[in-house]
Symmetry: C2
Subunit: 325 residues, 2 copies
């Protein structure tokens, strides 16, 4: 699909941002791609292979700095906003982190767009806005929205602000509530933790909770395709999409995929379950996302959970071997 | 009903706060009432008549000052959070005002509660969280929530944060989506504007929009009763209530009540309509709120829109005569 125009990716040097960069600098791609990143979890090697491409620009700055963000945004057509606290459990010890690194940054992104006249935003929201619905499948129009983590609250606050800015200041926002995104260059998440821990000790694996948490793990390439398809097709001022595989996997089953990807023999690893329904306070143990809306645009998901996780964890092994830790 | 305990009212010197103060310092009232206010729209005369009551304490400080807020909150049982930018239309020229004076303040209130171990909050949210539903009646569980003003977005952000803090940090939050609140000591709003303008020029009255905006105007005494009833009855960690009269009135009809309350003859005032569906960008011209949930607790509304507005505007006349401008 065509992805013309000049893109600014806030959080662009991170895991997901690097895949947008690869896609947008590929065939039929963008006129320009600017990565705006404070490198808190962004990495230079995520985009180093594009070093010679004159369309790529990197701005090392924080989205908390509104003036710097405005300066960097000027002249762009589309903002992809991915910047966020990546550690959802951090709120247990730092309750305010998602406000500072979520709500406030999205306010700055929206304000920078208004000030610079940048009209289109593609926003990485999250399924955390729905709260804990158990086995109930969340449609995009679900109500009530009762987030159970500061992370989910910050995503809902971000959506609400973009919705208001769309109505007041002619922004056009598409917001995405992803399943857990996995793939090469992943810098956090359960599969990432499992692979790292199994390298340290291949005889045992600690699993947070009872291991029966069940969610959708979607490959980053499917996420990039969904976002850019919606960007091409959606003309509404504000529109939300769930983006998930359609299948689900438990954490216990992820552990088995991790053991396999680590090259270990099934049964040789002792699972140590910490117990409890969720992995941590604020964790939603079961997430079911209805994806009819994004599929109605023509999107299909190329990989199920197990394949996506296997590809991600195999990539992590290679990356760790190459010294990207 | 019993309203025991020590209450901190953030924004307590304002219009609505002063009525909570009157009630809580009345018979069977609270052990203590602290008004925390920056006096941006709060007034000393709102509570001056309680001057001799040792249960009343006034802290002149800003909720933006988290340390001051924590210090003032220590030792209280219940927070009533009313602080907010009162001028919804201000976002047209100061788009960030509802973030600074809404979203950020509610974050501070929630954080102060967590730090001081204060568990109960009664939060003045708003019908703005629903966005523009036209004639559709909003139930509390309505979705999707697509606010069209930064004011509505800030209220939704506040609710989302309180919901997350309730789940993570054992706060117990009751949030209220009021109709337009009117009554004595009102410091803003359409009736207030009408009465002031008619004193300046009793021959003509400018009406924003086409005058067909239709909303519920609820008397502040009914609001106080609903909030304190829900406080007494609700045990859920997080619960939302619409609070409105059940009837509706157009701005054009409010103008007629204003003319009557101003002691002018119907027909002697020329209405000058500025035109357009809403009063300003971000205004929701038609609001319909389902109130079955609060009524199921036993709440009844003592005044309809017209009576509530008449009482409010008659009080405004008296207050203007007494030099409270």
């Amino acid at each position: 699909m065509s992805s013309g125009g000049r893109f600014l990716i806030v959080g662009g040097a991170g895991f997901i941002g690097s895949h947008f960069t690869d896609h947008l600098l590929g065939p039929g791609g963008a006129a320009g791609v600017t990565l705006y990143d404070n490198f808190s979890s962004g990495k230079e090697w995520h985009y180093a292979h594009h070093g010679a491409d004159a369309r790529l620009r990197v701005v090392r700055a924080d989205a908390a700095d509104l003036d710097a963000l405005c300066a960097a945004m000027t002249g762009h057509d589309v903002v992809i906003h991915l910047a966020s606290n990546p550690d959802i459990a951090a709120a247990m010890t730092d309750p305010d982190i998602d406000f500072r690194q979520g709500t406030v940054l999205t306010r700055n992104v929206a304000e920078a767009m208004r000030r610079t006249g940048t009209r289109r935003i593609l926003y990485a929201s999250g399924s955390g806005i729905y709260g804990d619905l158990g086995e109930r499948e969340a449609h995009e129009d679900h109500g009530p929205l009762i987030p159970v983590s500061p992370y989910g609250a910050s995503k809902l606050a971000g959506e609400a602000l973009l919705s208001a800015y769309a109505a007041m200041f002619d922004l056009r926002a598409v917001v995405f509530r992803f399943g857990n995104v996995v793939g090469p260059r992943q810098t956090h998440g359960v599969g990432f933790d499992f692979i790292r821990r199994l390298r340290q000790d291949p005889t045992r694996l600690r699993i947070l909770g009872d291991g029966m948490q069940s969610k959708s793990y979607i490959h980053v390439s499917d996420v990039v395709a969904a976002v850019l398809l919606a960007h091409a097709r959606v003309t509404d001022p504000f529109r939300a999409f769930n983006v998930a595989t359609g299948d689900y996997i438990t954490v216990r089953d992820i552990a088995e995929v991790a053991v396999e990807c680590a090259g270990l023999t099934a049964g040789s690893v002792t699972y140590e379950l910490t117990g409890g329904r969720g992995g941590w306070k604020g964790d939603v143990p079961v997430i079911r996302l209805n994806t009819d809306r994004i599929r109605a645009l023509g999107w299909t998901c190329s990989r199920g959970c197990r394949d996506a996780l296997r590809d991600a964890m195999n990539a992590m092994r290679r990356e760790l071997d190459e010294g990207h830790a």
